[in-house]
Symmetry: C2
Subunit: 210 residues, 2 copies
DNA sequence: GTAGCAACGGAACAAACCATTCCGTTCCGC
DNA sequence: GCGGAACGGAATGGTTTGTTCCGTTGCTAC
């Protein structure tokens, strides 16, 4: 009589599938949120019913993916705020978020489902955390004066746009772009950045249902 | 007996529609290349038949849009090469290409149609022109040493990723990102950019038929 | 050892979507 | 005025895709 927390056999297999499905869903839906759900199943190497056993419908899967991304973002931000140096916290945060492709998860998928109130709360918290991160970076004096919190969105968006078929290579190229951007954010002496800076809520339109 | 080059009446209206349709197609397909063709008609304020009178099918419209973008890119590059100063040529080129949203046109649409041989030739020419632009920028000594031609693709991709509902505002925000990136490209003293630089042809996969 | 059921694969179904065609209408050009 | 270029938009037919259904498998519990 194996325990409920099996480490092999049928239960174990099911647990593996849980992860395989989420992994496949990330892969497929980040590439194109409008992909058929059958592609996810194929990618995960399971049948369609394995998917429907876990999620009531496509939208629920999308929503979970996105919400997970949002939570990850907040977790990274909180971890970064624990860092003593404000500049390291700021740049480290950006790097980890870019590596985890969290921005695609939250932004690319937005609008493909109706959000829950809880997601709204988490999104609001994201804003606060980002504000804190930027404020602390400014306090170190190493962050360009005319950079605002919303510039983070601009930076992450730019990095997430880089994409090649190979995942590891994508990460490398994104790091290259991020390095350029951070390099520029660190210039405290140069000329001002052009245009009105991005305003709070200026990217919120994405969350409107498609 | 009005001349063939009418400036009013039916002919004129048709000519206006020509432009309205192209304009609408850019707007709609850049937002999502998989949009139904009826959306383009709606955006242009014409019926569907006005579209099919001009293009044999959806793919032809997509192809024209993309090819026009490619030609515009080459035209801008050639114009820039006429500029005496290599650095101004380089940065001016980037700015104009970003403003015209040419990168989305060529890259975002790639893979939605089967390319013509002529497009292949134009694409090859793009590569040569970009090489020349980068070489001249390097010659001025103002371009960071470890920047390669393909970094242009990275930069344009990053800028094109920025998007808000309002077109003029989108342009402003893209300019802001471009300013950051160019700012970094101009740093001749700092630390090296990470990772192997993008290789020639590394972005060619996009052109594979979807 | 074996009955029972959790988990599954994938065919089947119905609804939605969409490129393209078709036809009746309008009104400019001659 | 008449012929036809240009058009609006409904109709069509094929494809795509979310979801359901059913038969099978092989652990699990006793």
């Amino acid at each position: 009589m194996p325990s409920p927390n099996d480490t092999s056999g049928r239960r174990k297999q099911a647990a593996l599938n849980d992860e395989a499905i989420l992994e496949a869903a990330r892969e497929v839906f980040l590439n194109d949120p409008r992909s058929p759900i059958s592609d996810v199943a194929k990618h995960a190497g399971v049948g369609i019913s394995a998917l429907y056993r876990r999620y009531p419908g496509k939208e629920d899967l999308l929503r979970k993916l996105c919400h997970d991304g949002l939570r990850r973002y907040n977790a990274e931000a909180e971890a970064a705020l624990a860092e003593p140096d404000g500049w390291t916290a700021f740049t480290g945060f950006l790097g980890r978020v870019v590596d985890a492709d969290v921005h695609s998860l939250t932004v690319h998928l937005a609008g493909t489902f109706t959000p829950t109130p809880e997601m709204g709360a988490d999104a609001a918290r994201s804003g606060e955390l980002a504000d804190a991160l930027v404020a602390r970076a400014h306090a170190t004096g190493r962050l360009r004066a005319d950079v605002v919190t919303q510039d983070i969105g601009l930076v992450l968006e730019s990095c997430a746009a880089v994409r090649v078929p190979d995942r590891a290579r994508t990460a490398e190229l994104r790091r290259r772009v991020l390095a350029m951007l951070v390099d520029s954010l660190a210039r405290t002496g140069g000329s001002d950045l052009p245009g009105p800076p991005p305003a709070p809520g200026e990217f919120a339109w994405r969350w409107r249902r498609a």
